[in-house]
Symmetry: C2
Subunit: 303 residues, 2 copies
Amino acid sequence: MAEEPFLDDAEALPRLARITIIGVGMIGGSFALSLKGKGVVDEVVGYGRSRERLETAKNLGVIDRFSCDLTEAVTGADLIFLAAPIDASKRLLKELVSLVGPEVIITDAGSVKQEIISAARESLEEGLAMFIPGHPIAGKEKTGVTAADGALFVDHRVVLTPVEETNRYATQRVRRLWEIAGADVVEMDAMEHDRLLAMTSHLPHAVAFALVALLGEQQNAEEFFPLAAGGFYDLTRVASSDPVMWRDIFLNNKEPVLAGIDGYITVLERIRELIRLGNGTELEAIFEHARETRARIRTGRVV
Amino acid sequence: MAEEPFLDDAEALPRLARITIIGVGMIGGSFALSLKGKGVVDEVVGYGRSRERLETAKNLGVIDRFSCDLTEAVTGADLIFLAAPIDASKRLLKELVSLVGPEVIITDAGSVKQEIISAARESLEEGLAMFIPGHPIAGKEKTGVTAADGALFVDHRVVLTPVEETNRYATQRVRRLWEIAGADVVEMDAMEHDRLLAMTSHLPHAVAFALVALLGEQQNAEEFFPLAAGGFYDLTRVASSDPVMWRDIFLNNKEPVLAGIDGYITVLERIRELIRLGNGTELEAIFEHARETRARIRTGRVV
């Protein structure tokens, strides 16, 4: 276990000799670019299953070298950044326990926090202290390392959900790295995080997936498409998100997501009933309130 | 009734001495700017209920003059463009019959076509021939004349839904005006239009309004907002649309909208059940299909 050093020097830039990015996609790649751009990391190693994608990441300058062998990829790393879909991250945590020493910080970027914490608790044993659960709220529907962007996290919120056992020094270090990447970091209870994100992110994705799925099911879908307005396109942008990532998010945050969908269907059925009854006054009031509500939403950006 | 002149000269620019825009908001204002920019109209007169908004439209150069008196506003107009919410347009059609001669073209921009055609049939009598039902598919969530844009319709689809009685010459003339504004014009049966738009536009708006309404209802709504990701913001953009306009759209296209909401809830409940059962394979397949479907959607833009 790492000693807890003196923490007052929060302004000092942390230096990292080597970090390993597990899952060099948009988020993992953007994290690497953010830190490389600030000169706080000497070497970035990439790990993934696809040699071709890792080659691309290397050619783009996102990583300095890569390996498809986990042991080789994490050897000598000061920090490991897990940016794979949740179920893959859970499996990788099990493998990491025998590969890295207790001084290595592991952090992740998953959209659900309770399940990854449970996996860390089971897999890492003593190492749980050095696992810092994190979630940068800065998605795009784009996927893959070609969408990586060193400015992706600037003025975006990053949530850390440390548990009682978490090493404070390690949390502080991860916080500083995200701040260097330009993010606004908040700490929050993992259960609270999962409940809030079910409403602000997971439910909206389910809503958009369902809408596009419905259109895709129409026998004469091609007829519809030329008449889809820009609003439809914006509304369903998130339905282009990575299917595996979202499968994992829903299945790892079941109860809050199911509750969100139920609450949502209730509201939609209320609107349906008002339309059926021709109650224009109530409909208008709901739409007016929705417009006001949306104007208050700040969307993860902090400026 | 206007004679049907020789139609072969489709390339010739139509000239209009005066058009009247009823409802000088984003759509009405953009139509005016599009035609003024091409120099095919000598004078644009605005009509509305708010003198202040009409003053703004005049100051922005969208209209040349205005009146809050309908008779004064439409006197001498060659063409009247109805761009008010649907119920207001239906009422205005009733008033117009006694104010304009049978040679004046009336066209509209409403998002539902069967109801406005019924109103025209009841209100205009013989004048039905000169009413050209239209719908430019080029919305923004912005409202008001300050959002007017002379390039709004460029490469966007405009649907015309003439009926059997509609004067072909008048339809052709309105088509040419939209083409001059840069739009791609298609003709379609009104019932077909309403059925398709219920799915591609009206249902998506209901879906977005319900999502924002649900969030607004949460007791601790303020907690949620800083965690709303960019996807949420895009998804709910349309929930900022004009409440009166949307109240009218839903109530004037009831049956197709209700059928759309029912179909949508069925799909969302299917996704809910797959999450509950932990059926990752099926979920992933639905999301993969949604991603493919969305990639095929062309969103009203024709390029």
